[in-house]
Amino acid sequence: MIEVQSLSKSFKENLVLDNISVKLERGKTNLIIGESGSGKTTFLKCLIGLHSIDNGEILFDNRKFSKMNDKNIRKLRQEIGVLFQGGALYDYLSVEENIMFPLNMFTKLSLKEKRERVNFCLSKVNLEKTNDLFPSELSGGMTKRVAIARAIALNPKYLFCDEPNSGLDPKTAILIDNLILEITEEFNITTIVNTHDMNSVIQIGSNILFIHHGKILWRGNKNDLTKSKNNELNNFVFASKLFKTLRNENFT
């Protein structure tokens, strides 16, 4: 579990995150939703340590991030898997080498064991026999799946996904969503997904946080979402014509 206590972050005079406190549960997909510029990407980057925070505390299973020295931070980061928006695969490495990369850096496994682990991760994302392909030869959906395979190579305790469905067709987006949900439940990972995609929210939102102007305005699950009386949330969720129509038809 990740616990965030009174987190604040500003860039110069601009307060981006204002006193955020939240518990992100293990074995669940914790979705952060909100408009562009609401602060959700900054929140995610604060959680993974790419941005320093001004105030507050982040606890990874009761381990205080601010109290960690460099060695412990690096150790913690080996427990973190991140799926970046564009995949962030290393262009000069093949699919197999990309997934093997964290294993090479942080384990003493033999080549055979590493290959077995790579093949296991690839089978989890339904990409068997793509070992020798290079990132330039992959489609958008395949890139995301290889990135997921790399993110889970070291058996992470925490999985962070930044806009996992951006640029994907609806069918592939559902595939990625299901994959994230499956991996989260199977390996009991604390998963945090940053998304705009309302289909994802309906599909995998077991714990949803709505951030607006740097504050958490609403939290709940996908079943509560359509019943909310929060105006800002409703403006965001029912912005599209499709969702408006579905609300009028009383969907849950």
């Binding site: 080996q78 991140v82 564009g86 262009d91």
Partner: protein
């Protein structure tokens, strides 16, 4: 002014990160050999071609300018040798490599930055600066002197061919090469090369590493890296010459 001071500060902070012990020696050496190919071997042909023709042209120009019966012909070989050892091979080749290798390093690292590959390294707990930049710096420091030595030899060979083409005898040319040869000039040339190699790779890596934005900014970083490393090569050329030759 404050902007430049900040930039210099950021450069030294990056260098502090770069010069840390490699996380895994076997991976470091694998990368080092890859970089020998990327920053060194891939530049071999351009260095040799340019050196051959410049050597030839320098000789022909000397022969035309020293067209006086009172000045011995062997001075043509003497001037060609010193021009190549002292200035052309270390400095001009460094400027060419700043364009070729420097822009390559800045755009490679810049592209990795904007596509979040560097963030991915950091998140894995890897010192991205050391992992990406250290092998490039070491490879260039070790390989550029080899390129410069080859450049000197090929330049002199080109000079000999150029000399023959306008009637300078081989005996005169070789006598010129042997006249008042100072081995320290070679040391001076190699010292300059090592400094220039460090400047080219570290400055280019610095601009690539701190690229922000998109493809356009990668191009800008690449250009800035080439311009600034070229200027610094010329400044350090002056400083080193003042320190070692005067």
């Amino acid at each position: 002014m404050l902007k430049y001071i900040k930039e210099i500060g950021r450069y030294f902070i990056l260098m502090k990160k770069v010069f840390s012990f490699p996380e895994k020696k076997d991976i470091f050496f694998k990368q080092l050999f890859n970089e020998f190919e990327k920053v060194g071997l891939s530049s071999l042909s351009i260095v040799l071609i340019i050196s051959f023709f410049v050597g030839g042209v320098v000789t022909i120009q000397q022969a035309i300018n020293i067209d006086d019966p009172l000045i011995p012909k062997y001075l043509i070989g003497f001037v060609t040798r010193d021009a190549l050892i002292l200035e052309f091979s270390p400095t001009m080749i460094a400027l060419i490599l700043a364009g070729k290798v420097g822009s390559n390093i800045a755009s490679e690292i810049g592209s990795m930055r904007i596509s979040e590959q560097i963030d991915a390294l950091e998140i894995m707990g890897i010192n991205s600066a050391s992992y990406l930049v250290l092998p490039k710096i070491i490879a260039s420091i070790l390989f550029f002197p080899i390129l410069v030595i080859l450049s000197i030899f090929i330049g002199i060979f080109g000079g000999w061919i150029g000399g023959i083409s306008i009637g300078v005898t081989t005996a005169d040319f070789v006598l010129g090469l042997q006249t008042e040869f100072s081995p320290f000039y070679v040391s001076y040339s190699l010292i300059k090369t090592v400094v220039f190699a460090f400047l080219i790779t570290s400055i280019s890596a610095f601009y690539g590493y701190f690229t922000k934005g998109g493809a356009l900014e990668v191009g800008k970083s690449s250009t800035t890296a080439v311009v600034n490393s070229s200027i610094l090569i010329l400044i350090f050329n002056f400083i080193i010459t003042e320190l070692l030759l005067t």
